[in-house]
């Protein structure tokens, strides 16, 4: 099999916030009744509360909508994990799809990650705490983002707009574009 590469191929930018492409990342969309035991069994951890993301080891599960979750895992095991989930769900009315190759994952690091995101989205980023996730928009495109701690944020967008997202983030994270302290 050929080598998987992400749309940005590991690009990185040093501004007042560091923007880094995370390379190929495993992402599995899971739809079904989130209250069911089958879903809990399939993801192998507690179902996240609305607008939250929960992690266990190198796997995470994000709440996407009242009937949709996004499971994050290493790229190499995505197919295998999706197959396991499908099996665990059995006959429960559900859908599992490996969407790893349709998405891009970008990391933001720095004391002002909230400011960088807030410049691009109408979401109330200042009120977001680590573990909170928002699906919203960044400028003209839909994106999901969450904080793992006060200085690290992750952004998921469609692969087709990965370059656009990276350019947006690097523009607003450019050293000269930092907002004056209020």
């Amino acid at each position: 099999m050929s080598n998987a590469v992400s749309a940005l191929n590991g690009a990185s930018f040093e501004g007042y916030v560091t923007v880094t492409d995370m390379g190929p990342a495993g992402m599995i969309t899971l739809r079904g009744d989130l209250g069911s035991a089958a879903i809990k069994k399939a993801i192998g951890m507690a179902v996240p509360a609305p607008l939250k993301i929960t992690s266990k080891g190198e796997n995470s599960v994000a709440w996407m909508s009242p009937d949709e979750l996004l499971a994050l895992c290493p790229y190499e095991v995505a197919d295998e994990t999706a197959a396991k989930m499908t099996k665990a769900l059995g006959k429960a009315h559900s859908l599992v799809a490996n969407v790893s190759d349709a998405r891009a994952l970008i990391r933001l690091e720095g004391a002002d990650v909230r400011e960088v995101l807030a410049k691009l989205t109408p979401a109330d980023v200042a009120a977001m705490q680590p573990g909170d996730l928002r699906r919203s928009r960044l400028a003209q495109i839909p994106a999901a983002f969450w904080l793992t701690d006060d200085e690290t944020a992750y952004v998921i967008c469609f692969r087709s707009v990965a370059k656009y997202t990276f350019d947006l983030l690097t523009t607003v994270a450019a050293p000269s574009s930092k907002l004056a302290p209020t």
Partner: protein, 109 residues
């Protein structure tokens, strides 16, 4: 700027995160119906100055459709509710009555 709370994910969405879906609570008239009913279903829309009911989709978010009751004059939002309802719930009607006594919209009041 219009802010609507999505009743599914509880997010206060900005207008730019939403897609407008036109008037709410349209009753469909399909094949076999009277021409006048079908015309009404296709073309006749309310254009009120005041209380209005609309459909919105949380497009840049959870992707769900929902209903919103708002005032077209002041942009005041009376509430949002599930897209699965065929008429506004009583608490929304009460909220509107409290602010706009004597309101009516199509067959609702």
């Amino acid at each position: 700027m219009l802010l609507l709370r999505c009743p599914y994910c509880g997010v206060d969405c900005d207008e730019t995160e939403l897609s407008p879906g036109g008037e709410a609570h349209l009753k469909r008239f399909g094949p076999g119906s009277e021409d006048a009913d079908f015309e009404g279903y296709l073309f006749q829309r309310e254009n009120p100055k005041g209380v209005h009911f609309e459909r919105w989709r949380h497009a840049n978010g959870c992707g769900k459709w929902f209903h919103a009751a708002r005032c077209t004059v002041t942009l005041e939002v009376f509430g949002t509710y599930s897209a699965q309802l065929t008429e506004p719930p009583q608490d929304i009607k009460d909220a509107i009555t409290a602010k706009r006594p004597g309101w009516h919209w199509r067959e609702f009041a």
